[in-house]
């Protein structure tokens, strides 16, 4: 009867599902309830990059320099009077200058993080990255770690430091290190390409920046402004340079097999 007819028709054509297109009735557009919480630009993980290849025979290297154009701003001295121990570590204020902008005599800009944006993921790294609190300053001032790479945080001072990391994608942490020589080991499990601040709440002048990348293709410009990125598989990439005060710059490059590519960045003051 009609029901049998119904069955026959229904058996043939299943319309409980439909190719998902403009589904205005079914769209669940409750304001805000399903909004994702990604709130920094450029920190989302790169879409499905293939598993990294180990160092291939035709790996290329990128070497480059970062220059600063314009008059280098004068960096002030760090006011360490609040903690006599810190002051004692820098007699006559030696080596106690703000590290925000470090420009060499020929205009070389240091502490610039240079990395490849869309490189394939690297193999997991087990050697820990070290950040040392010495003389009430962070060593190094900027750093890059890989996802899930252990980070050893060391307190080489005989004063209380706390390590307060403020990432936006990963989980924040804030731990005290009252004992000289103690280390804490942490890691970040999500990619965060925009470097975030690490500070000490006891000593407000201390700051350091860290980024978390999924691959080892990065470099930090040294005092002479040079950086190196090694073992890069050939291909087309976007290379990014980041400075804590002067922001971010990007370039598109193509790297050939076994090429020694030169890349230059210039930041204007």
């Amino acid at each position: 009867m009609m029901f049998a007819l119904t069955l026959v028709l229904a058996l043939g054509c299943g319309k409980g599902k439909e190719a998902s297109n403009n589904e205005e009735e079914g769209e669940d557009d409750q304001a805000g309830s399903t909004a994702a919480a990604s709130n920094t630009a450029g920190t989302a993980a790169p879409a499905a990059t293939p598993a990294a290849a180990p160092v291939s025979a035709d790996a290329a290297t990128i070497a480059g320099t970062v220059k600063f154009e314009g008059a280098a701003p004068k960096m002030g001295a760090l006011q360490m009077a609040a903690d006599p121990y810190c002051q004692s570590q820098h007699p006559n204020g030696a080596d106690a200058t703000d590290e925000e902008v470090i420009v060499g005599p020929a205009g070389e800009l240091a502490n610039v993080i240079v990395y490849i944006k869309n490189a394939p993921n690297g193999p997991p790294v087990t050697t820990p990255a070290v950040i040392d609190q010495k003389g009430c300053k962070y060593h190094p001032h900027v750093q890059v770690v890989q996802v899930n790479q252990p980070i050893e945080i060391k307190n080489s001072d005989a004063t209380l430091h706390n390590i307060h990391a403020m990432p936006t994608v990963n989980s924040q942490f804030n731990e005290g290190q009252p004992v000289q020589g103690m280390t804490s080991t942490k890691k970040f499990d999500k990619v965060e390409m925009t470097p975030f601040r690490i500070k000490c709440d006891v000593h407000g002048w201390m700051k350091s920046f860290m980024a978390v990348l999924p691959h080892p293709y990065w470099g930090v410009s040294q005092m002479n402004g040079t950086f190196t990125i090694a073992n890069l598989p050939p291909g087309q990439y976007t290379i990014v340079a980041w400075h804590e005060k002067y922001g971010q710059q990007e370039q598109n490059i193509t790297v050939g097999a076994k090429e020694q590519k030169q890349v230059a960045f210039t930041f204007k003051g």
């Binding site: 319309k15 439909e18 998902s20 205005e24 006011q79 103690m182």
Partner: protein, 1121 residues
Amino acid sequence: MKPQEPIPHNYSIARLNLIFALSSLLLLGTTGAIVMYDYVRGWKWFQWEFLRLQHERLQQDLRAAKQSQNKEQLAGLDKQVRDQEIVIAQHRAQYVVAQKELDSWEGKHYAADQDYRFAKAKLDAQRYEAESSIVQKRPDAAAQNQEYAKQTAHLAQLLLTLQDVARHRDAAQATVNAWLKRIKDAEDKRKELNATIDLINKQIETVAPTSNFFVLNAPMLDFISPTFKIDQVVLSDLYIDMNYMPVPRVDRCQTCHRAIDRPGFESKKEAARLEKELQGKLDGGQIDPAKREETETRVAQLKRIQDDPNEILNPWRTHPKLDLFVGSASAHPLLEFGCTSCHRGGDRTTEFGRAGHIPANAKVERRWEASLLPFFPGPWDYEKRHWGYEMNEFLETPMFPRQYYEAGCIKCHGDQVQVRQGDEITRATQTMEIVGCYACHKISNWRFSDLRRPGPDLNGIAEKTTPDWAIRWISEPHNFRSTTRMPSFFFQRNMIGPSVPAAERDQNIKLQDAEIHAIVSYLFAKSTHREWQAPGNGDAAHGKQLVETVGCLGCHIDTETIKDEKTGAMRLAKRDDFPLERNYGFNFTGIGTKTHAAWIYNWVKNPKAYYPDAPMPSLRLSDQEAADITAYLLTMQKPQFMKQPVRAADPKAVHDLAKGYLINTMTDRDAEAKLKSMPMEEQLVYLGQRSIEKYGCYSCHNIKGFEGLKPIGTELTTEGSKALHLFDFGFIHEYTHESGKKEHVLHNVPSWVYNKVRSPRVYDDERTKIYNDKLKMPNFHLSEEEARLVTTVVLGLTKEKVEPAKLAGHDPATRTAEEGRKLVSQHNCRACHIVDGYGRAIGSLIADTNFLPPDLSPEGGRAQSAFLFNFLQDPTVMKIRPWLNVRMPTFHFTEDEANRLVAFFAAEGKGKPFDNTLYTSPPPANVAIGKQVFDMLRCAQCHATTPVSPENPPQPNVANAQSLAPNLTLSRVRLRHEWIPDWIRRPGEMIPTTRMPANFPRNAQTGGFQSPLAMAIDTPAFAQYKSTLLPYFNNDEKQLRTTMADAVALTGYLRDYIWSIGITQIRAAAPYEGPTMAVPHPPLPPAMPAMKTGRNRRSNDTQEVRIDDVRVDARARAGLR
């Protein structure tokens, strides 16, 4: 023989036969049609389709389960079985012998058992013989007894034999089992691995159609035990109005929405959201290890749903947020709440149209309505999702459209200020509170009772500003302040809009001008004229700095233009551009044009001196600070506003309007005479009084002569239940909104309310009405989002009956908390603080997180009640964060209000409302140990321990970021005894942005706390501490080490030490000597019961209004409508 004569009939038999045949066929056909009509139901098709979908999904799951099965393990088990079988085969002879042995012993056991049982039976018989022979004193008694004894002995022997045989048999069994054990183990393991697949296979069996299925569901036979049946849930404590009688709801929605409570049929969007959530929990280690596999399977299922090229459509979808709604473990399980209690609609119907589905927009409506046969939608339509829909205009409770789903929350959650996990509805009621709907429209809910009037007191208006300004303001407030909450009463679309004829427009302008002038005349005539002292010279630059740092901008906005996010150009700001809390106070722009120095100066120093109900608290400004702020605010001028031309009041218009009121109580001639005797000023004042009455200004503002009047608007307490035909849709189906957007008016209640709220006078479009009959509701310039939220609340205000047990938030703890929350909302605490996990509108204005006002989420568990009580009433009793620039204002709470707030925080933080730990004395040993721990952890590097004056601590030097920590001598009187150790252990979990480091970080695996002192105590640098501590541990190094590793013990010692150095007393709150509030808030007068007929939307009132010497009969007011 005579030939048979034909028997005469009255009727032609042939014809009768024909009629009979036809009518039989007709009857058959009708019966068939009846059966068919009853049998062929739309919902059966939906259930059939769902079976098919289930089948498909199960097949997918089966494939996935097969894939994820550990093939190697299975293969290994198979190998194990085979190997053992081979071993058995190799030792076959032995196995056979063992088996034979077992068999023979089995046989022997059987025989022995049988012997034993027979002997036992015989013994029982003999016992009877023996006993009866004794009783009956028979001569053979002795012989019988002897026989009995013999048989007993024989039985005992048989038992021994049996047990012996049994032992042998068990041993043989064990031998055989040993051979078979490995096979059995492997089989069990394999069954375990296959469990999932077996389960899925079983499920597939239940959904696959078998021949049984067709028989059970056949027409006429389906009364026995059909597979397709109506699925319902009866809710005996949620009522629906059935012909004026509340009856329990019977929700049959699941009949078509088969998967509503079943996970596995989510939409792709929902699946993505759920996957993200669960994956986040898995990664963060928040899932119980026992449930881990289950969660991973679910995540895999959600991934499959997203990868499927097709999307599950309604009605076969799972309900979104199953953990909050509908799921059996959720707060609203299906069996207790059903569907219609939230979504409304026809509960008992199983037809699509009759159930009250409302399309979300016109496009959806068109698709639903399409149908091949008008009265018989069927599979031919359903496949294209044309449901043959026709709106059921007889259904009094149609469903809420998609954008107003939350309206259903109000009937149970209407007594709550904050609904947990219900951000939408919380925001909706909060928007209504800020916009002030409750002031004109009485809403009897607890949520909207006892709220302050949204507008300022107008009794002192002459002290503040000038009539020139007031006229321009009332004409169009948004010309002065684009973010103002004051609505626009005049020159709206029904007065001068495009649909009004030109001649009428000019006349309307004159009449409106007359009314505006009149209102201003009245207000200024009745105003007080107190003298206020002028300030000294102020420094505007310093004032600007103060305004931006002291905390004014938490409640106030100081700009009128804002950069548009999309275009980047500057544009006028709207209320929406700022957090709700910052709209509490007015926008500073133009304040210098509106008022003068003396007024501002005295206001910022002591707002309550102007009127006791002033919402603004006192910032305890010194005279100089107040003068500086005044100087700054005076620079915020808007001269172009005053340059707007103002038309003078047309005497004829004034005369006509005034006469229109007068002739309600006197004759035309008398009215003329009276008016002639009144000078223009007096006419204006009289007209002003009547106009204020007409427009209802007194509902939001305190105005002299209008105290105690009822609010002017329609009562909204049960507006959501009002029948559709009682709403006046006017003549329009679409219109152009004042903002330029084209809006459609659908013929349902939500659409009416939404458009009313968006453009209150729109229903006057294209209509001819006399001036006084036109719609009066003012235009609040609500954005689409604000209008949607307000509509949601209004739709939710229904008269549906709910059993008190089902109402949310009625336990005493929640009531206490909600009372406090109401105060928090009324006094706008969230402008500066995070309360209940959200707020701190001022946060975006303070760059350095060290200088933010504190997050009050842990306050309940943290602060002692006595301290909090005094602090709230008088924040100067303790300055715990002297480095902050923002100031906690003095709110002049009454004791009752302070009590309510303290109880709220205690209920919120799950602390005891009143604690008595202040005078607990810590043991001296603990104090000494605590001091050592304190030194080892170097707490003193941030926390000072030198005594300071609680009220006036030294201002810290904030260049040293070190000095941004509270002084610990103030802890004992402020913090709770049991809270301090908890805080020291996990500050980052309580307040995520705190500067306080975690000295005892959590161990990621175990979740416990690690102590850095466990290692440190043995290092040379700590040798001195070790030697000091050892005596307290009986010189036992091991005990010392254990304690140094125990974070709970260490934090306890720290707390004891902090307790020992703390002060025990602070000043009590200074009594408030300013203007006392005789009545906490001037209460909104009680409403008279609304009339049941639809005629008068406003309640009939019989109150009399006496103004000076003009008595007005209330009935006359009805004519003012």
